[in-house]
């Protein structure tokens, strides 16, 4: 009958366990070097991932240039998110989500649109894409263009926008100014732009008057 000394086996097990832990920790350390963390979480608790995008910041160097780059400017309150749809990319391959918000226009150089509800589109939206994300139990994320933040329902903004079709506009992160306590604020991340500095702190009436002058 063979007699087994339990101690060496116990030690061997411990050594193997330690080796496994070391290896896993080392592997995890190495592979985490370029793992991009989900960097922020929106008000709705959904993590935000930004799509890299490069902007011509000269177009926001002053308010005159910014206004001339776009079609329309108005102040409005975001009353809801109408829908989210997918937009095909150039070439018809690949899609990005687009969020569509309803906005009640409160002030505009065009008196005819004041009091009407328009649609403002923001590139980005909630997706479970990436192919395998959902199966990994990681849940949805909100994709946004770099430098952009989610348009918030219930908030007021000065929108300087492109007109896609009558009553439908597309917003740009450098040309959207939140209004807090009746005064305009620069959008987060765009504070250094000349246009933002020109308009920051103005009341809605002052801002609309200033924008109207730029549009002339």
């Amino acid at each position: 009958m063979n007699v087994v000394n339990p101690r060496p086996i116990w030690l061997l097990g411990l050594a193997l366990f330690g080796l496994a832990l070391f290896g896993l920790a080392f592997a995890a350390c190495g592979s985490s070097l370029d793992d991009k963390p989900l960097e922020e979480t929106g008000q709705d608790g959904v993590p935000v991932v930004h799509i890299p995008a490069r902007y011509a910041k000269t177009l926001g160097a002053d308010l005159d240039t910014l206004v001339s780059t776009f079609d329309v400017a108005f102040v409005g309150v975001v009353t809801g998110e109408a829908e989210q749809r997918s937009e095909l990319m150039a070439g018809g391959r690949g899609e990005l989500p687009v969020s569509v918000f309803t906005v009640l226009v409160e002030a505009s150089a065009d008196a005819a649109v004041v009091g009407s509800t328009v649609e403002v589109e923001q590139l980005g939206g909630i997706t479970t894409g990436g192919g395998t994300r959902t199966t990994q139990g990681q849940g949805p994320v909100r994709l946004l263009m770099e430098g952009d933040s989610p348009i918030e329902v219930g908030e007021r903004y000065l929108f300087i926008v492109k007109e896609k079709a009558p009553g439908i506009y597309r917003a740009s992160p450098m040309a959207r100014f939140p209004i807090e306590s009746g005064r305009l604020q620069p959008a987060a991340g765009w504070e250094d732009l000349g246009a933002a500095q020109e308009i920051a702190g103005l009341t809605v009436a002052q801002a609309m008057e200033r924008v109207s002058r730029s549009a002339d």
């Binding site: 366990f17 592997a27 793992d35 011509a56 690949g94 430098g147």
Partner: protein, 424 residues
């Protein structure tokens, strides 16, 4: 006692696997001694086949789509040369990535398409954007995503004023191309809106990079006007797509010219290997004269053509032996294990990239499920098909046993070739 021995055996297995994983992690993605170029977490779906690094990460790339100004010629006068120069710059770097471009050849289903439009995504302030997508057309944004293709969309209208020069257009294209191969911005961090000046981030001084806004922005807007690929960018690629021939070139701030080791290609015809050439260094200035014309020159003897010759084959009949059977399954396993394989004249070797009419573009011979390269799953599917069991092929992928007309993907210049003949 039996249970205990099983436990130790399992621990031993875990230990070995973990150590192997650790070794892999340290060789392929990380190494000590310098900070890391910022990278996106996702990677292209391409895998190194049979140790053939030369054939890896050659991205089929359309010639630029000139869709601005409602006039292709007019659009081309602004964008064609910057496009050619930007990609020639990337292709001259000592790393394993090649953008395979043939002048005038465009295909929406290539790995990369570059579109120049009046406004990118309807935003007149966007200079460019470069999303990547998985095979289901979802944008890639996490490590679980395998990149199937990428798009670069350029806004022509935004390139006015200081951004209107050819070198500034080239800078945008070169920058966006960096995103396609997983280079992240160097001058920003994910968790803050702070934009750092060229050569800086929140950790202090960092090398210059084409992925840093402030490095590539025009001098007129207080940028450095560095429109070219930097060693630090090459360092990033050599981390993301490690090729022993190039090692971690660029990570010390210089671009040496390592000699690629011959690839252990199973092909009977020589495989084109990248020939790195010295390129710009961080001392290059914005006064460099751009090279003109299409300087992306295929180095293979294969003649680029839009009408490759077709050869009828049976999908899954890896050795072209008259049908898909367990011998083909074994060939796939041998290839996956890095063992030698052979094929009769006119039959592609496993791993050879081919044009498959059922699919959009190239896939490797032996990748019978059209997913994730040639691997044991393909071997199993051949066995299942041989046993008469459905293999649940993805949409667009031929059924095992189907007759297909394969054509060597001549649009991709650096791929192994095989001699056409003995067609069935």
């Amino acid at each position: 006692m039996r249970t205990r021995s099983h436990t130790y055996a399992a621990l031993a297995l875990v230990a070995v696997a973990a150590l192997a994983l650790a070794a892999l992690a340290t060789t392929a993605e990380s190494h000590q001694g310098h900070p890391q170029k910022k990278l996106f977490p996702e990677r292209w779906h391409y895998q190194v086949q049979n140790g053939d690094y030369a054939a890896w990460m050659t991205l089929s790339t359309s010639d630029v789509w000139l869709e601005c100004d409602n006039n292709e010629n007019q659009c081309g006068t602004k964008w064609k040369t910057p496009f050619d120069d930007a990609f020639a710059d990337w292709n001259s770097q000592p790393d394993t990535v090649t953008f395979a471009i043939t002048n005038g050849v465009q295909n929406e289903f290539f790995d990369l398409n570059v579109y120049v439009e009046d406004e990118a995504l309807g935003d007149p302030t966007l200079l460019g954007i470069a999303p990547t997508f998985d095979e289901n057309d979802f944008p890639c944004f996490d490590p679980s995503c395998e990149v199937a293709y990428g798009l670069i969309i350029i806004g022509d209208d935004a390139h006015n004023g200081p951004y209107a020069g050819p070198l500034d257009r080239r800078a945008t294209l070169g920058h966006e191309a960096g995103h396609i191969i997983q280079l992240a911005h160097e001058s920003t961090n994910e968790d803050e809106t702070q934009l750092y000046e060229c050569g800086m981030d929140d950790t202090g001084p960092i090398p210059h990079s084409i992925m840093s806004y402030d490095c590539i922005d025009p001098v007129a807007v207080d940028g450095a006007g560095e429109f070219f690929v930097q060693p630090w960018d090459v360092c990033g690629i050599n981390h993301a797509y490690y090729d022993p021939a190039f090692d971690f070139t660029g990570c010390d701030g210089t671009l040496n010219t390592p000699s690629p080791t011959p690839s252990p290609s199973p092909s009977e015809t020589p495989t084109a290997t990248p020939t790195p050439t010295p390129s710009q260094t961080s001392t290059q200035t914005a006064t460099t004269t751009p090279t003109g014309g299409n300087s992306v020159s295929p180095t293979s003897s294969a003649t680029p053509s839009t009408t490759p010759v077709g050869i009828a084959r049976v999908w899954g009949d890896i050795n072209c032996g008259g049908g898909s059977n367990p011998v083909d399954s074994l060939l796939v396993l041998r290839f996956d294990a890095g063992l030698s394989t052979s094929a009769p004249a006119g039959c592609p070797l496993p791993g050879t990239l081919l044009y498959v009419p059922f699919q959009c573009c190239g896939t490797a011979w032996g990748n019978v499920d059209c997913l994730s390269g040639v691997n044991p799953v393909d071997s199993l599917k051949i066995l299942l098909a041989d046993a008469g069991t459905p293999t649940d092929q993805p949409a667009g992928c031929p059924e095992i046993g189907d007759t297909v007309v394969l054509t060597e993907d001549l649009l991709i210049p650096d791929k192994p070739t095989f001699t056409a003949g003995a067609a069935q």
